[in-house]
């Protein structure tokens, strides 16, 4: 009896931990399918996390928080697509530097808002089988993304941009426009991932609260070989790793706590290493320059 309830608890906690990762991983996936290496996901997640908390605290209710997250995601999308899509620069470098800038920016805005912003946000009511609304939405979005990318004509066009830009261009697809639109959607996803972290789970904001989760989501996409359904499995594994890290601390307190904090990150490297070379969309990362 007790064992099974521990397992159910563990699975629920893993889902809760995996939910922010699912959103971010979906964002990374669609960005890469359209040809943009989305290293900036960590920064956008952080901005979304802050926006969610600020929206709820200053707006009063959950919808204000979600709306502010949406706005933040769109703004980040425009800002990043300027550097990643409209200019032919190294997308990896721009992404990493964006993460650093976002870290400073969110810390700055957080302090600008004063003591109010440090309140703990009320818990969201669970929606379905003790899974929060964020979690349910995440599951729905995974299947929707899979269906859209692989079963519709628009999805095929999107994927074709990632595979061969110039072939897609010859079909009449406006590369820059489609990339921008899809990338902004990806940023909105990542922003919601951040909101899922702060509004749905931790309920408060702190400096660098994402702690590398955006990168774990990136790894989950590599693990899943760019298939949304496998992304679900990957993020659940990583979410479980994080939960294990917290729980083992309680049960096996003789071992130093920091070894457990290493768990999610070590698990990520192990998983990527074992998976080996992942073939993503062929032309991810190549800037689009008209010939």
């Amino acid at each position: 009896m007790e064992i099974s309830s521990w397992w159910i608890d563990f699975i629920l906690a893993s889902i809760r931990g995996a939910t922010p990762l699912i959103y971010c991983a979906l964002g990374v996936l669609i960005a890469e399918e359209v040809g943009v290496i989305y290293i900036g996901v960590e920064g956008v997640m952080l901005v979304g996390a802050l926006a969610g908390i600020l929206g709820v605290i200053f707006g009063g209710n959950l919808w204000a928080g979600l709306f502010l997250t949406l706005v933040a995601g769109v703004l980040c999308g425009f800002f990043l697509s300027f550097f990643l899509i409209w200019l032919p620069i190294d997308q990896v470098a721009a992404g990493i530097v964006f993460n650093l800038t976002a870290l400073g920016f969110t810390s700055y805005i957080f302090r600008l808002c004063g003591a109010q912003a440090q309140k703990i946000v009320p818990t969201m009511k669970p929606l379905f089988l003790k899974i929060s609304s964020f979690g349910v939405m995440a599951f729905i979005m995974v299947f929707f993304t899979w269906w859209f990318l692989f079963k519709t004509a628009s999805g095929l066009k999107i994927r074709s941009i990632g595979e061969n830009m110039h072939a897609a261009e010859s079909m009449g697809i406006d590369i820059i426009k489609v990339r921008t639109v899809v990338f902004i959607i990806a940023c909105v996803f990542s922003a919601f991932g951040g909101a899922a972290l702060t509004l749905g789970w931790v309920r408060v904001f702190a400096d660098n609260i994402t702690m590398g989760r955006g990168f774990i989501a990136l790894a989950a996409v590599y693990f899943a070989k760019w298939n949304p359904l496998f992304v679900l499995i990957g993020t659940l594994i990583f979410g479980a790793g994080e939960v294990l890290a917290f729980r083992s601390q309680a049960t096996m307190s003789s071992i130093n706590q920091y070894y457990f904090f290493m768990l999610p990150y070590a698990l990520t490297i192990l998983v990527i290493g074992l998976r080996g070379k992942s073939r993503g969309p062929a032309e991810t990362g190549k800037s689009y320059i008209r010939r």
Partner: protein, 355 residues
Amino acid sequence: MEVNLVIKTEKSTKLIDWLWKSKFSISALSLLISLIVLVVMSLLYGANPKQVLISLFQGALGSRKSIIFTLLQTAPLILTGLAVLLPYKAGFFNVGGQGQLEIGAIAAIFVATNYHSHIPIVIIVASLLASMVGGIIAVLIPLFLKVKHEVNEVTTTIMMNYICINLVYAMITGVMKDPKAFYGTTRVVPEVFRLPEFLGVHVGVWLAVVIALITSWFVKYLVWGMKLKAVGINRVAALTVGISCNKILIDSVIFAAAIAGLAGGIQVLGVTYRFAEGCELPWGFSGICIAFLGGNPLGVIPVAFILAILETGSRYMQSMTGVPSAMVNIMQGIPVLLFLYLNVWLAPKLKSKIK
């Protein structure tokens, strides 16, 4: 007569070209614009921008003590900047500087607190070597995965960062903990084994500058440096000529990780003399910004100095005007974004292709 005029115009065009389009001026312009960003953001905060700027520079260069502190910050920044710059040219984006730095620091402390010798310099050199080895160990897994399995090194090195940070904390609260201390910290490095001072700052600062100079000379004048340049410009062409790109990559990554570890080593042997919980060594990510703004090993030195000014001055700025010192991260990131943008804008061929 006419010929003289033509030569004169050519010369002045060259100067203007260099002023506008050289990487140096673009970096300088980016940094200046970031100062403007600082002004704007401090206005948002409600502070007086003139006071903000003055306190920033006063905090960094106002007194002899603060200049020394700024120089002390410059040393690890130079080294982490080099640690990102060199492998980047070979095709490996080394984001793991932070982790390598921390492992290097803990390795140096381990040697300095556990071994004894009558000749201090033996231990000092051994500790610095240990820090280099520590940095190399921290990069081995990402390097192996990259070379053998072509796994993207950005994710792996970032994961290693978090693993290293937690591993180091586990060490300082567990195995390497000072039995006399209440909180997590290692034992203090004995005075004889600390880095000696030269002209007011510890030897590590001069070591960092010397390493940057030697690296610049390496890249410019040695065959290895030319191969590195070739790989960076066009990997396929280099392969065709017979340059072993993998070997160049491995060499540069090991060198970079060693330098990053050394950055940690000189910091613990020269400034903090211990590694404590909450000890902040945030130079890993700044190294990325320095690498991009610097462009080549020589350029890393002034850029590192400027970023050190920002970091040192920001604390004084916060205490004087209230503008949060987290601004410093924005001021490191924005110039690089600007630099990347301006680089494209001022390169005419690419510009015409975007239009």
